[in-house]
């Protein structure tokens, strides 16, 4: 039943479509318009399920190149996960610690992690860059970035 990639994707999409439809049917009604807020979502949910069913039965039309995209070495998956967790931590502490500090840490460690070996230039960039951006946004553009622990 789940032989091809398309079939697997299509099942996931059908589940998403059903979930969306359930939510769409629960939308409260509003008395004063001929087409209520739920009509378009319901149509979209049904469309998604229909299209996903078509996908289930459709032949695999991917080129070799497109298939090759999915062959990611384990090591790289690890790297992706790590970078995403770096970003997550970056966002998590952005407002608490402030833009400047977090960006410095992020640029330095993320670049190092990805294999940038020139520590001196890495350090220089990660210190100067956030400072310039911060100064430009807050002083010149009057757009405040999170200050956090940064003193000014």
């Amino acid at each position: 039943m789940l032989k091809t990639v398309n079939q697997r994707i299509s099942l996931v999409l059908i589940v998403v479509g059903i979930g969306y439809l359930i939510l769409a049917f629960q939308l409260p009604s509003y008395a004063y318009v001929p087409v209520d807020a739920d009509i378009v979502p319901i149509t979209l949910g049904i469309l998604l399920i229909l299209l996903a069913s078509c996908l289930y039965f459709s032949k695999d039309s991917e080129t070799e190149e497109q298939k090759a995209r999915r062959k990611i070495p384990k090591k790289d998956i690890g790297a992706l996960l790590a970078v995403f967790s770096f970003i997550f931590v970056y966002i998590l502490f952005l407002e608490l610690m402030g833009f400047v500090l977090m960006t410095m840490l992020f640029i330095f460690f993320c670049s190092w992690f990805l294999g940038y070996k020139k520590h001196l230039s890495n350090a220089l960039v990660s210190i100067l860059f956030p400072l310039c951006m911060y100064g430009m946004f807050t002083e010149f553009l009057n757009i405040s970035l999170p200050q956090g622990l940064w003193p000014f």
């Binding site: 509003y30 008395a31 004063y32 690890g78 790297a79 790590a82 967790s85 770096f86 931590v89 502490f93 608490l96 610690m97 500090l101 840490l105 460690f109 190092w112 992690f113 009057n142 757009i143 405040s144 956090g148 622990l149």
Partner: protein, 336 residues
């Protein structure tokens, strides 16, 4: 292994610096002084993106405060957009008691909680002062058959399905309710009013090309079109006639025998439980702002009206308005 190490160093550094952050908060509290004065930069939140009405009001107030040297501390305007204001309000609500945070607000602060879109309403905050007022105007195309509100409302009573009203906000919010309020006072069945919302600000276009019949908007948006003769204003929602060229020609709803008004007030609020001394300080400063010539120029430029209220008057005014809106929304079945 090395990568793990980098990750660990990163996290450790974070925790370390986060721990350091706890230290200096306590030292900065200001207590005990009778005459309160700001010692730190003041932050005004505009609960919307750059460029809108709230943002403009906040930035202009900050500008006059600084340039006229009314307040010595630095004043920064911070945008917290989202949820029609709800995100910004939630942020300020989290600064309980702080005398250095405030936000700018207008009637959506009443509408949005009533529509169930924000858990915070005006009663959660400390009103500081109201500064300006704006009024609603109901416009129709220049060649429309109605010449005053009563003719329009009579037709709406006869055949409500033939007349469409357009505004920018969604039903249950400002442009809709300001019209409903006046129409109700004129005896129109408010559940039969056909209202469409045009959020790209093209309501005026729809009026000019005849797609819709009535445009519910702010007074200042109509002036130029009236001068050019493309639209006519059937009524405005102020108590008395407005002053100024063209504006003085707009009849109020009241003088047409419809006993209702609607004010688009705009003022400033502090976080919950803001210190009384601080409120008193700001009240006075906003009074100074409102009386200043520089701010009068700004009002004139944007077509705003002067409307100063101190904290207490403001609170009362808001409670009263909220009650009115609540009963309207209940009648429409839109209240939460």
């Amino acid at each position: 292994m090395k990568k793990v190490f980098i990750g660990v160093v990163f996290v450790v550094l974070l925790i370390f610096s986060a721990a350091c952050s706890g230290g200096d908060e306590e030292a900065s509290g200001t207590e005990g002084s009778k005459e309160w004065k700001p010692e730190k930069p003041i932050e005004i939140v505009a609960p919307a993106g750059a460029g809108g009405g709230w943002d403009t009001t906040a930035r202009m107030a900050a500008k006059v405060f600084t340039e006229e040297e009314i307040i010595d501390s630095d004043i920064g305007v911070v945008n917290k957009a989202g949820g029609g204001g709800a995100v910004g309000w939630a942020y300020v609500a989290g600064q309980e008691g702080s005398p250095y945070n405030m936000f700018v607000a207008s009637p959506p602060l009443l509408f949005i909680p009533l529509n169930g879109q924000s858990e915070y309403g005006h009663e959660d905050f400390t009103p500081i002062a109201n500064v300006i007022a704006d009024y609603a105007a109901f416009a129709v195309a220049a060649d429309a058959k109605w010449d005053n509100l009563n003719e329009l409302f009579d037709d709406m009573k006869k055949d409500p399905s033939s007349i469409t009203v357009v505004g920018t906000s969604s039903p249950g919010s400002m442009d809709h309710i300001q019209f409903v309020q006046i129409a109700k006072a004129a005896g129109v069945d408010v559940t039969k009013i056909k209202y469409v919302s045009d959020q790209d600000g093209v309501g005026l276009t729809q009026l000019l090309n005849g797609s819709v019949d009535v445009f519910s908007t702010g007074v200042s948006e109509t002036v130029e079109q009236v001068k050019a003769g493309t639209i006519k204003v059937l009524g405005v929602t102020s108590e008395e006639r407005l002053e100024g060229e063209v504006l003085e020609d707009f009849p109020t709803a009241k003088e047409q025998g419809i006993d209702a008004t609607f004010v688009n007030w705009r003022g400033f609020f502090g976080p919950p439980n803001m210190d009384e001394e601080a409120v008193a300080y700001y009240e006075e400063k906003f009074k100074e702002l409102s009386d200043s010539e520089a701010f009068a120029d700004i009002r004139k430029q944007f077509g705003w009206d002067e409307m100063y209220m101190n904290s207490e008057e403001y609170q009362q005014f808001l409670d009263e308005k909220k009650g009115e809106i609540q009963s309207l929304l209940d009648e429409l079945g839109l209240g939460e």
